[in-house]
């Protein structure tokens, strides 16, 4: 932008951010950067610090330590109204006394742009969000979904390289949420801006993101693509928080690049991204869909096979979800697709080799 000597590959960069509320450290040494044009999701349980970090980027909080860089400029001392980090609020926060057009035009009018330009930019933003026909309505004449579109239009009209979204879908019903998800992702691709999207819903994060940042207790647990955080979680928290997983723990044995673990008298093998040596404590994370359940014993030696008792089978549309107990008393969750019936009683589960992801902790 300013012809600075060093070229920064990140549009937004957070360096060593600390934030304390009272005595509670809500952000603890946050170091992460995001490239231009990607869809970033801050994911984590409530109270993990994700919203605080978003609001720190927007300037509603001043970090107690660390730096916020946007587009090569340090902004953490800049007041919120000078940052041009448009945000879509969870409650939409539309101005109730202004109609749709004036809501969207608000930020542009503050910049004292010519009227013609304001009009064409507002129209463009309303077209992008399919709200053009409602431009004269007042916010309280709109449905929740429509209000949200206005909130998005009001933010994208600012033509910043960044758009911040604070759990924007949490007030929509389930069906609408899924379709808006798709639209938001398409909008982001079309505009090629960096979206930072806060959510506690892991399926939303998986479906929409280029990059997921998983938060827990004010720290970043993992930064990665949806595939990476789903299949290669680096901590037990990530494996547990994203999707459903079965965990077995114990002392590891390393053999031919695989990590081996004994459970209920059987040997399990898994893959890992960490370095393991014999005797290290290992956590095996096995996804429910990686396990097969059957009435007969497994046929392949390579598979780990356990006799179990079925506690419960639930038909939930595209699959049947079972909860079973093995002989050492551990509960497993298993998903079976392509089933016509719900099994009961005694059965066997089999886990193919290297389907387990091994976490070192």
């Amino acid at each position: 932008m300013q012809g600075v000597a060093h070229v920064n590959k990140y549009l937004i960069e957070l360096k060593g951010i600390h934030k304390v509320f009272g005595t509670n450290a809500v952000l603890n040494d946050i170091n992460v950067g995001f490239e231009e044009g990607c869809f970033v999701t801050f994911l984590g349980p409530s109270g993990c610090g994700k919203t605080t970090l978003l609001r720190t980027i927007a300037g509603f909080y001043r970090p107690d330590g660390g730096e916020v860089w946007i587009d090569g400029k340090r902004v953490d001392m800049l007041p919120a109204h000078k940052r041009n980090t448009p945000m879509v609020f969870q409650e939409y926060a539309l101005f109730p006394h202004l109609n749709v057009f004036d809501n969207v035009a608000y930020g542009l009018r503050l910049q004292k742009l010519p009227r013609k330009e304001i009009e064409s930019r507002v129209r463009e933003a309303l077209d992008l969000t399919n709200m053009a026909q409602f431009k004269d309505r007042s916010p309280n004449q709109l449905s929740g979904g429509q209000q949200q579109r206005v909130a998005i239009a009001r933010a994208i009209v600012m033509q910043s390289k960044i758009l911040l979204l604070d759990e924007p879908l949490s007030n929509l019903d389930a069906k609408l949420r899924e379709s808006v998800r798709v639209e938001l992702r398409m909008l982001q691709r079309q505009l090629n801006r960096t979206f930072i999207y806060v959510t506690h819903d892991q399926s939303e994060a998986l479906a929409m993101s280029d990059v997921i940042v998983v938060f827990n207790k004010g720290r970043i647990e993992q930064v990665g693509s949806p595939m990476e955080v789903y299949f290669k979680p680096v901590t037990k928290f990530v494996a547990d928080f994203i999707g459903v997983s079965n965990f077995i723990e114990g002392k590891a044995r390393v053999k031919d690049g695989s990590v081996m673990l004994e459970h209920a008298g059987r040997s399990f093998s898994g893959l890992t991204t960490s370095d393991f040596k014999d005797g290290d404590h290992a956590i095996f994370s096995i996804r429910p869909e990686s396990i097969t359940l059957g009435k007969s014993e497994c046929t392949f030696d390579s598979q780990a096979c356990l006799p179990v008792r079925i506690l419960q089978g639930m038909f939930i549309g595209e699959k049947v979800r079972y909860v079973v107990k093995d002989q050492v008393g551990m509960d497993w969750v298993i998903d079976q697709h392509d089933t016509q019936e719900v099994l009961t009683g005694d059965a066997y589960i089999s886990i193919p080799p290297d389907k387990a992801h091994v976490i070192k902790e």
Partner: protein, 563 residues
């Protein structure tokens, strides 16, 4: 999803640093504390400083003072009890039954609030007094309306609207779901009322009772007109000032009126902080209707609201009658109607209407502006002394009107200096003391309205404006003020109306030059000139109803002053 409540660092030093680093905040705080300090705290202290050991001894040893005080408490309790009970039945009939013409009867409940506060007392004299139309002239009996019965009846009618507002608000806030659930569990008619409705409404009923009690304690006009030998403390204090110029004694009497109000205020604040059953969500549950009454009970309700309305119309009707009846003919037992008296009164007292309009408008706006400022500071800013400011803003609600009036007289009769520096010129005998005292009296209304307005503006709306590039000033001017406009206008209009009809609060500070219409109503009635007082009352009512109509018309029904 559960939102975790986050709080940034607090503490006195942090607050003080925030204030010092923000000049606009510093100016706003200076104005707020100056207003509250000069016009609420200082008069209160000044009045207390006027009492002496001797006046206190007098109060407790002399029979006349003690008796007046006991009578004030006693009659106020009676009035509070009947006004609350009648208002409860009325509100229950409107909120809980399917009676006809609800909207109309709702409006009627406010009527006594739209008339000069001495009008009820005057109407009772016109109806039942020595030359009463109903008793002496039409039926031919004499009843003794002067004394306790008159005060009791007049205050019951005059303070009915106040109780009605409080009770109907709490009844409206009870979700029908709760009662339907109780019915579903087997609670029948009176059982449901006793076990669910009444306990839920209790806080509203209690606050209605206390509100009427406090106002009845400091009521001046009705006891003055109707008391006769039954002298109450506010009337006595007035007599002590105007007759003996004994300010110390009057201050002591007034201070004694403050004690029960203040005690009630503190106890109520304590109880309310402990439990609040009714959560006001602002979203009425749509489509659900309670059926809590049989057909018979409903007919009784309909008759009841009709009778109350009839009583109110009778009060207004008799005043109108006297406004247009020829007084000489009336004494001879003939009814001759003429516009002459009315037009003469209007011409002669035109200046008092002009004064009333100026003072009430200025006071209405001032109370709303100061209320807005205090509410803004309280809901959006952090600074040392926040609690004091909040307490002072609602304190005038608790100060008996006559107490406030005397305190202003004592405080501002000479120039106010701080050492050698003059800070305030002498205010008595000017229009400013009339405006300021009315504004102080109405401040709690303006403050509460603005506060609830601010609460309705989600903080994220202001953040959204900031996020789009608006600084603090721009956020206030383009977002906050436009959103608060309806609340601001409705409180300004409400305060205007209250100032138009006030008597007790200005009784000690009013001067001939700045005389106002509501005082003329009282003084003419007190001297027995009922046709003049009646004409003035009708004119004031017409102005108030006209104002309400105008607000309704201009805002296309969106701004509701009474709701």
């Amino acid at each position: 999803m559960v939102q975790t409540q986050v709080k940034e660092r607090k503490g006195f030093l942090n607050q003080a640093r925030n204030v010092l680093s923000d000049p606009s905040l510093l100016i706003m705080l200076a104005i707020a504390f100056a207003f509250v300090g000069l016009f609420i705290i200082y008069p209160l202290a000044k009045l207390m400083a006027n009492t002496t050991l001797e006046t206190w001894r007098n109060f407790f040893t002399k029979m006349a003072y003690r008796r007046a005080y006991a009578r004030t408490v006693y009659s106020s309790l009676l009035s509070a009890f009947t006004a609350t009970a009648l208002a409860f039945l009325y509100a229950y009939s409107i909120e809980y039954t399917e009676i006809k013409f609800k909207k109309f009867f709702r409006f009627i409940a406010f009527l006594p609030m739209l008339a000069p506060s001495s009008m009820t007392g005057m109407a009772l004299i016109m109806l039942f007094g020595r030359n009463g139309l109903l008793t002496t002239k039409l039926i031919g009996v004499e009843v003794e309306i002067y004394g306790l019965p008159g005060i009791w009846l007049a205050q019951t009618i005059a303070f009915f609207p106040m109780a009605f507002v409080a009770i109907s608000a709490v009844l409206r806030a009870i979700s029908p779901n709760i009662e339907i659930a109780a019915q579903n569990l087997g609670a029948k008619g009176t059982e449901l009322f006793r076990t669910v409705t009444l306990p839920l409404a209790a806080p509203g009923v209690l606050s209605a009772f206390l509100l009427v009690f406090i106002n009845a304690m400091s009521d001046f006009a009705n006891p003055k007109l109707l008391g006769g030998l039954f002298v109450t403390s506010p009337v006595q204090a007035y007599g002590v000032v105007t007759g003996d110029a004994d300010f110390g004694m009057a201050a002591t009497i007034s201070a004694m009126l403050l004690i029960p109000s203040l005690a009630i205020f503190l106890i109520q604040a304590y109880i309310m902080s402990k439990k609040s059953y009714v959560t006001v969500t602002g979203k009425p549950v749509a489509g659900l209707k309670r059926i809590t009454m049989g057909k018979g009970a409903e007919i009784v309700s309909q008759v009841y609201v009709f009778l109350v309305a009839a009583l109110f119309f009778m009060v207004i009707g008799i005043v109108a009658f006297f406004a247009f009846a020829d007084p000489k003919a009336y004494y001879l037992g003939k009814f001759v109607f003429t516009l002459k008296g009315f037009t003469e009164t209007m011409t002669f007292n035109a200046y008092t209407f002009r004064n009333s309009a100026i003072i009430a408008t200025a006071a209405g706006i001032l109370a709303s502006v100061v209320g807005l400022l205090l509410a803004f500071l309280n809901s959006r800013k952090d600074f040392p002394g926040k609690k004091i400011l909040d307490f002072s803003a609602i304190l005038p609600n608790t100060l008996p009107a006559t107490f406030l009036s005397l305190a202003f007289l004592l405080s501002f009769q000479r120039m106010l200096t701080l050492g050698p520096i003059p800070i305030l010129p002498k205010l008595t005998k000017t229009i400013f003391i009339m405006i300021i005292i009315q504004a102080v009296r109405q401040l709690p209304i303006g403050y509460r309205n603005a506060l609830s307005g601010f609460k309705q503006i989600d903080k994220s709306i202001e953040e959204a404006a900031t996020n789009l590039g608006a600084n603090v000033g721009k956020t206030i001017s383009s977002i906050v003020l436009p959103m608060l406009r309806p609340a601001f206008i409705s409180s300004a209009v409400y305060n205007f109306i209250s100032a138009m009809i006030a008597v007790s609060v200005i009784i000690f500070v009013v001067t001939p030059q700045w005389n106002v219409a509501s005082i003329v109503v009282y003084s003419r009635a007190d001297s027995g000139y009922y046709s003049e007082a009646g004409a003035m009352s009708i004119a004031i009512m017409a102005i108030i109803l006209g104002t309400l109509w105008l607000v309704n018309f201009l805002s296309r029904g969106r701004i509701k002053v009474f709701d």
